[in-house]
């Protein structure tokens, strides 16, 4: 790199290495140093383009200012969709804010193959887990625990453990929001479409729907929930006039299938926002700020690393975004 080290800076400033280190590292006021010394060391560091050697610092302090991100299998990242971009945006934003690096733990594949992730985690001060396969496997969890570094979960997280730290969208509240929007437009009989993926997230969205529907005094039946694609005849018989899609694709498909079968329904989906906060889908949607959520998780993690008190369980509220055309009322 730049090549100059503390020794050179100290020499240039005419002070000892210790003093140079103190000037450059200690928060002003924390330690007594003369103003003249401070000025000379700063000037020397500047003129030499001094950049602290990260490895040396880490060896000494035991901190790398680097967090590991345990994502999913590459094929997940390679899946269609907006997902990865939001995650990246959140990671970078928080990294810049906090002065931390972000390492993709490329060892993940080794890890799930029964390999040893210790080497990969070795230089991370903390671990951000974005992966639900992981914590559902006790052996994997044990491996992570042995690393003895703070762990924060985003997106999905182990349930029922009060010590777990996470930040995620409030999917249940999102489900209630979707019901509210449709009820406001006059709908009373509202179905819920999901699939068997993402049990945690889709499950919470469904629970929100259930809660809001029950609160509105609607008698729910199991067949108001469909998997993947609804049966138009069944929807017609149940008299559903609207559906909520646990994601955009499920909602879109269901909407289309029903329309084609002459059973039109109104649709609200769970969707995404773009980087300017505008909804990414044309359908009316309940959406979360995923990038913001990831960024908050990183803040939690750095808080843990640095021993600060933090909110250990963050639920980020979702918001309803109407489409360009207002929600229509029941047509049947």
């Amino acid at each position: 790199m730049a090549g100059s080290n503390l020794h050179a800076v100290a020499k240039e400033a005419g002070v000892s290495v210790s003093t140079a280190s103190r000037v450059l590292n200690k928060a002003p006021g924390t330690v007594a140093i003369s103003a003249a010394t401070i000025a000379r060391v700063r000037a020397a560091a500047n003129s030499l383009g001094y950049v602290p050697h990260a490895a040396a610092r880490m060896l000494r302090t035991g901190r790398s200012r680097c967090i590991g991100v345990l994502g999913a299998h590459p094929s997940f990242f390679a899946a269609r969709g907006h997902f990865t971009g939001e995650i990246m945006a959140g990671l970078m934003r928080a990294g810049v804010e906090l002065g931390y690096h972000t390492t993709l733990l490329t060892g993940w594949e080794h890890f799930v193959a029964g390999g040893d992730i210790h080497a990969d985690l070795g230089s991370a001060d903390g671990l951000l887990v974005l992966n639900r396969d992981l914590y559902q496997n006790p052996a994997h969890m044990d491996t992570i625990r042995r690393c003895r570094i703070p762990v924060v979960y985003a997106l999905e997280h182990p349930d029922g453990d009060p010590d777990v730290v996470y930040a995620r969208p409030d999917d249940e509240q999102g489900g209630r929001l979707a019901v509210e929007a449709l009820r406001h437009a006059g709908h009373e009989r509202i179905g819920f479409g999901r699939n068997r993926e993402w049990q945690g997230i889709f499950g919470r969205r469904q629970r929100g729907w259930e809660t809001a529907m029950r609160a509105a005094g609607v008698e729910l039946r199991d067949d108001w929930v469909f998997n993947e694609t609804p049966d138009p005849q069944c929807v017609a018989e149940l008299g559903l006039t609207a559906i909520i899609g646990a994601n955009q694709s499920i909602g879109r498909t269901a909407h289309q299938v029903l329309a084609d079968a002459g059973v039109p329904v109104e649709l609200v989906v769970f969707g995404h926002l773009d980087e300017r906060g505008a909804p990414l889908q044309d359908d009316p949607a309940v959406a979360h700020d995923l990038a913001g959520c990831i960024a908050r998780a990183v803040h939690q993690l750095v808080g843990l690393i640095e021993g600060k008190t933090i909110d250990r369980q963050i639920l980020a509220p979702m918001a309803f975004h109407p489409s360009t055309t207002a929600l229509a009322g029941p047509t049947r």
Copy 2:
């Protein structure tokens, strides 16, 4: 981490730290060590769960086994599309193969804001540039050069510099491929649709189209290329029977606009493959293996870092993927 160090391993094995280090690091046969010693050190390291301290090793060797990835602004990652996922997949694949970590240089935003990226690059052995804003700015290039670490470009790269190292899809060959496919179906008058984004990539695709068309003896005119959306009347007058879209969105839109105006054309787009190598779009497409390309770029970079001889300019061939329905011939 695990807490045990070389010292502990050496003690357990009854050898010196030097010997333990040699056993654990030198390639077998490189250095003379007795078989018994090797066995004892290996056993000790295993039983203690020894993991080398990355920072200490780096401080000593000056190598971090970590490469920096200078991507784009988060808003780019957050854009719709398949892009980021393929990049991630390529990075992870190569990282695992080569035993290198991958650091997202979160300092990019600081960098373009005129900040100093040295601190971020400090611990990277090499730099992968995925960003075209960067090398078009002399000041940024200068900053990178001062880091004195090897640099490899993927996706886009500076033109005309014979020393530059890159791996990217062969877009020009892809353009020729698209023409071939359409000519094979009987088309002779083939237009090209692009926009003003991605000058480098779209320009090369266009150049491939030009080359193949000229080679086929077709007299090209400037108005066979349209920006964003074609003028149906113009297309009809020119007698174009097919178009090539520089990406899927441009191609799709143009195809639709022309069909709506009663000027149907056959369409081939530039597209993507999913992680199993299947095309991601319904239209007939010329597609590249972007993840593979990124992985090859990482291999180049690690080759440079480790002083091996490498292919300095890699052009990965693209392939034509017909859709489920074969290409139709000219209809007008």
